[in-house]
Symmetry: C2
Amino acid sequence: MRTAPGSAPDLRLLSFNQMTCNPANLSQAIDASSRAGLKWIGVWRHKIKDASVEQNGKQIHEAGLRVSGLCRGGMFPALTAEERQRRVDDNLRALDEAAALGAGTLVMVCGGIPEGSRDLDGARQMVVDGLSAMAPHAKARGVRIGIEPLHPMYAADRSVVSTLGLANDMADKVGSDQVGVVIDVYHVWWDPNVYREIERSRGRIFGFHVCDWLVPTPDMLMGRGMMGDGVIEIARLRQAVEAQGYDGPMECEIFNQAIWDQPIDDTIARMKQAFLDCC
Amino acid sequence: MRTAPGSAPDLRLLSFNQMTCNPANLSQAIDASSRAGLKWIGVWRHKIKDASVEQNGKQIHEAGLRVSGLCRGGMFPALTAEERQRRVDDNLRALDEAAALGAGTLVMVCGGIPEGSRDLDGARQMVVDGLSAMAPHAKARGVRIGIEPLHPMYAADRSVVSTLGLANDMADKVGSDQVGVVIDVYHVWWDPNVYREIERSRGRIFGFHVCDWLVPTPDMLMGRGMMGDGVIEIARLRQAVEAQGYDGPMECEIFNQAIWDQPIDDTIARMKQAFLDCC
């Protein structure tokens, strides 16, 4: 399915995921986003450390920003029941933090195969169990849980949820309005079923992330590119999620040392232009 | 689907893909395979250079070996019709070479998105067109064309055929008995649909390759591991292809500098043991 071309992306929906400039702390990312006139910011949990999460939430709000998503919950699979429970407990705290920040969505990187195991199916079941254990607390806190399928090259060590189809299957199994998907073009662009699965995601798309796939890819983790510098049909994917009713923020999230080394204001300026030109 | 455990792999089916020891030339790979008592060898086209392909075929036969597969045909997508025709022509020559070697299967690495393009669907159509153009000559030569789905991390630059499901779809579209699939565990292990798609491949599985996915993966291209050193459920996959009637050779194909640096006899000895222990 190719939606009609022509509709431009809405700059008011663009969100700066703070890991696009990892050297900056949260205050610096808030200030730079605000200076650039952005309306949204994507926050990472490990960046919340110089103040309480409530203080960070107040700072973001007073800067005229909203939190598009909190990264990241997940990492469910573990060899023992005790360790799995410890991880669920941490995910419940992540929901509290998301609520305190006013983040509508907690982005889930669900975890890989436990060390020493080869049980991929078992790890996938642990993800479903963990998500199910989180759903009631998510409802109580008013936070949505967004399962982010990760590229299959991360299946062993970062997320056993390797396709949007599997994320949709898992959301179906959990069966809660609080549980949906976050779609990052980097992770799904190659999938022959991606447009069909975006249609299936209707009503539960809780986030949309953009960046690009560089050729050649310089690194499995740190090799992402700015929109337009790679081969992903980003506008087509953006139009496909919008065709399913998604009207939320669009986060730019790039792990790339060369981009991290740029001044944050330059990165945000470049991101805005790339969003308008290539998304 | 998990087949009943217990059935052991048959060492008589093990094939040494010569790229598991890239420093060796074809004669050295033939001699080492024969010394180790193997019955099969996997050959690469660019290694055929010190003699004619007929002479190489004779040498392999006289060493008591058969060719499990010739790597590789493919690389169909290109921006111009002339360049696509040039590639089809080269693939027809590859079929001639496979026939001269007595290789039952030409292994297809189908190619990425043409440089300067983002048209993934178009590239996939070029693959179907190229395979269709090859099918009559494959029938005339008695060589089977095996579409090898490659891991999605190679979708941009090596093969737009990213899943076994897509390879099956393409084989259906071409609609020739000569066109089927080659299944390499490295490329498909992560796929939530892999066992379903292996069932769908019944009758057209023209090859099976083994190695392992290391954690962490040291390199996107050169990061493969010996069977047992990673997380792939190799025996389960092997039993799944056998459950669909596959009784052909099983190639060990590993790109890994540390393994390339070992003496070829050591590598083959280690491969045999790993095959028995972990496949």
